[in-house]
């Protein structure tokens, strides 16, 4: 068991409108995740709005998370930045603070070549000594990692795992096979995209990096444990029960839905960073209805 297997729960990061992290509110979100027994905390992921927070505020969030969960649950922290030197500094911060690993996306403005991403990741792994999980998130970065590039990166000391969006169930076995052939045996392959994650774990995915688990860890843990125990029918039944939430995630983005749910439940009064807007009241009501009907809270 490493921090790159099992269920990784990705909470939102409560912050003021001007981007100052609220460590008390963040700890209140993290405490139940640690208590539920998730395998890791995925701090400052995309849903944790890392891209919108300064280095100072990211360090503030990390310190709070480590104080709350550090002794019990490993913390994987988003270290992505547009500039290589900034990402190196964030990775150094993360290692100094005591994070278990860094989650590194290929954020871009000017579209990047494979060689540029390879050099970017190598510089960050080498410059920090922090264990790194490649964060493949083309929906936000518009860069797509090929198995060949993942294989090259897996040769770089410190680059240990991949988090990629789970494809539809008919494609996941092929994708896992192509990736597995490209990387060493000890390299860990995990998936995001909550709506397809159960099938990805059933197909052999070693981790589920979950937005839903950042607010509702128990039902996600139940799905993951059934899938890892090979109880496919049970995993699928538990997952099917979550479909109304997955449908909201797909329609409005998991980030916006999670903020609305946290708001509805009184867990967090902050909105996402502008320009991202809170969902409208009718949609927030739909989110509340689903959370209530599934007895998630």
């Amino acid at each position: 068991m490493t921090c790159f297997t099992g269920l990784s729960a990705f909470p939102i990061t409560p912050a003021s409108p001007d981007g100052r992290v609220d460590p008390v509110a963040l700890r209140a979100l993290i405490a139940p995740l640690a208590a539920a027994g998730v395998d890791s905390i995925g701090l400052l992921g995309s849903t944790g709005t890392y891209a919108y927070l300064s280095r100072t505020e990211r360090r503030r969030a990390l310190d709070a998370a480590l104080e709350e969960a550090g002794g019990r649950v490993p913390v994987i922290v988003g270290i992505g930045a547009l500039r290589t030197d900034e990402a190196v500094a964030l990775a150094q911060d993360a290692r100094a603070a005591g994070a278990a690993a860094g989650l590194l996306a290929a954020i871009s403005y000017t579209p990047l070549t494979d060689e540029e991403v390879f050099e970017h990741f190598s510089a960050i792994a080498t410059g920090s000594g922090l264990p790194i999980c490649i964060y493949d998130n083309p929906g936000t970065t518009h860069f797509r990692f090929t198995p060949s590039l993942v294989g090259r990166l897996a040769q770089v000391p410190g680059i240990r795992a991949l988090k990629s969006p789970a494809p539809d169930s008919d494609a996941v076995a092929g994708q896992l096979d192509a990736l597995r052939r490209a990387v060493p045996a000890e390299f860990r392959l995990g998936f995001s995209g909550d709506w397809n994650a159960a099938e990805a774990v059933l197909a052999g995915g070693e981790a589920w990096y979950s937005v839903a688990a950042g607010l509702f860890p128990e039902p996600c843990l139940a799905i993951l444990r059934a899938a890892r125990a090979g109880e496919a029918a049970r995993a699928r039944a538990l997952n099917a029960r979550m479909q109304p939430l997955w449908d909201l995630f797909k329609e409005f983005s998991s980030l916006r839905v999670t903020y609305a749910a946290a708001h509805n439940l009184g867990l967090c009064r902050t909105d996402p960073p502008r320009p991202i807007l809170p969902l409208s009241e009718p949609i927030r009501n739909r989110v509340a209805e689903v959370v209530d009907r599934l007895a998630l809270a």
Copy 2:
């Protein structure tokens, strides 16, 4: 004539590897643009790597550009940022420094809805009082402005112009027509994408926002002036002569080619910000050969 018509020249922004702008090198790039008689300087555009520079360094670049060109040529400056509050601050900086206008892209990490982009742009225009040109650049932002959204934004006081990528020549008249029907008569429609810009100006585009002109203003001015005078055959012939440069832009990106050309010519010794890598030596040699053959320098 406003700053949103004619030829706008977009230079690169010389900076150190850790992101500190070199004002002397920047002024040396801007002086010949002003002397050539371009209609505006497009400072800190995508090629000017605004997305990779801090607020302090962007202000340093703007002050240098205004000192060099301010009295002679209006300076339009990139004010885009991921956060709304940061973009407001950059727009306020630009207005206080004396920029003629701000160029505002819909930078995103979490993909944005039309409503989010509308609110983002409105907040920046209202919060700064700076005249704003909408910067439609889906190649870097992955957000696409519809004519309908441009029309809504054109109603916001201060939002005055659009810079969008010139489509292929068979599509430009239709695109211009759709946009023109969506905006007030005084709203200015201009184009980027050097390889398609001549046809876009011939079709009625009011400005050419040009990367090539940031280094080679004369041949671009000749094309623009012929096109605006209705001398279509002459404009097309002058443009056809530039095709080897356009081909390099399309293959390697205008940003990377411009850095290589500036390097080859001894105009600027700095590389693009990492993770963007300088072009390899064989490709730099191809760039040098084209610059030499076209007698651009």
